[in-house]
Symmetry: C2
Subunit: 268 residues, 2 copies
Amino acid sequence: MRIAQVSPLYESVPPLLYGGTERIVSYLTEELVREGHEVTLFASGDSKTSAELVPVCERSLRLDQDCIDPLAHHFIQVEKILKYQNDFDIIHSHTDYFGFSLGRRTNRPVVSTLHGRLDFNEHQLIFNEFREIPLISISDAQRTPLPGANWLATVYHGLPTTLYSLNKQGGDYLVYIGRISPEKRVDSAIEIAIRSEIQLKIAAKIDRVDRTYFEQKIRPLMRHSLIEYLGEISDEEKNELLGSALAFLHPVDWPEPFGLAMIEAMAC
Amino acid sequence: MRIAQVSPLYESVPPLLYGGTERIVSYLTEELVREGHEVTLFASGDSKTSAELVPVCERSLRLDQDCIDPLAHHFIQVEKILKYQNDFDIIHSHTDYFGFSLGRRTNRPVVSTLHGRLDFNEHQLIFNEFREIPLISISDAQRTPLPGANWLATVYHGLPTTLYSLNKQGGDYLVYIGRISPEKRVDSAIEIAIRSEIQLKIAAKIDRVDRTYFEQKIRPLMRHSLIEYLGEISDEEKNELLGSALAFLHPVDWPEPFGLAMIEAMAC
């Protein structure tokens, strides 16, 4: 089949550091190519893929200091896909509303995988508007707030089995991987570590909107001698960090739609 | 003529507090109605207009604590306009890229007034993509970075002449009105006030992305006894504040595309 994969542009495909959605788009794209499909990937120009890459912007947007308005690039992406639309049997979007709007402008089938939580007020309204759009959920639980949407299937995230490996010597520290924001409860992870008297290593990104939360609530907690903050890390560093840990902590306080870091920890 | 006015949804039309774009959409809409046109306004549900209002969301989004994803409402807005498109002779968009994308989905003429600066990297790319879209500038200077875009006309902002009035007793303080962010240089306004030994009253909004800048750079400067921070204010309060001031300070450090606050100050 001739398949278009449409990735968000915030991270490269695969991402160098943080980036769950772009990581999954990469695994999926590479596997489709391996199975003999003709795949075109619409992603940032610093992506690496064995599919044909249509670069939408020069570099991935989140860490690009020159990028002021990431939205503009996603609007351009839709127009680029429409230019090539007749080359595809199916268009697979990972860009939420942009994919929905695209679905109304093309006669090619567009299917959207939703990567986030769906329980905001806005979700009721937008899925009510775009009720014909075919959707893939990443867990059955993700569908709960929107039982009436046009769900086609649940496709769980997978990982290449060779990616992470266990250090059989074991380790003596706890690890937290992901994002620092109120709903992810890194404060709980820190409390668990301190009360257990075990070292905690934190590898996580901080979004601009969470910067004040980080400075006010989390940085003071990190001053404890058991807590070490590593910033964002690469896949290679993640393998070492996860594979040698005593345990992975994931004390989230929100309806996590999948939790990629959990299967990464289990893949070691 | 049957005219659709398409407003951003961040503020009501007119806005209760801060909101230059929505303020202009309101003046324009009311004047078009007064001149006998049949005007439909696509705006937040808390807008007040003599045109026909199509409410896109219940309340304006910026100060709505329940609004997590304002983008969703703007996608819904486009679909609502498309449902009614045949009722209009012309669609006038104030929503940037959403209007451009809409322009490619309808056979009705869509004209876009651009309310912001146009010198980001992204602007070259997006105006190159949407080069056929007819555009209105709010000053000739605004066009400078994009000389090749499809400019139809410059329409300067206007104000109802009855809105603001001068307090002829005069006043003894300086005033700063607008937004607190690095390019607006409220720090310069504070320095001017302190060096002139004249009181400065600041009425301004602070966006979430500027919160850290405010806490780190501006709040410490506001501790000076000559500086008074009022938060955001209504039109009525603005009239009193501007009309009784000694002078208005606007020491911006960016290519201000128009500067609505400047004509508000001059209207007193």
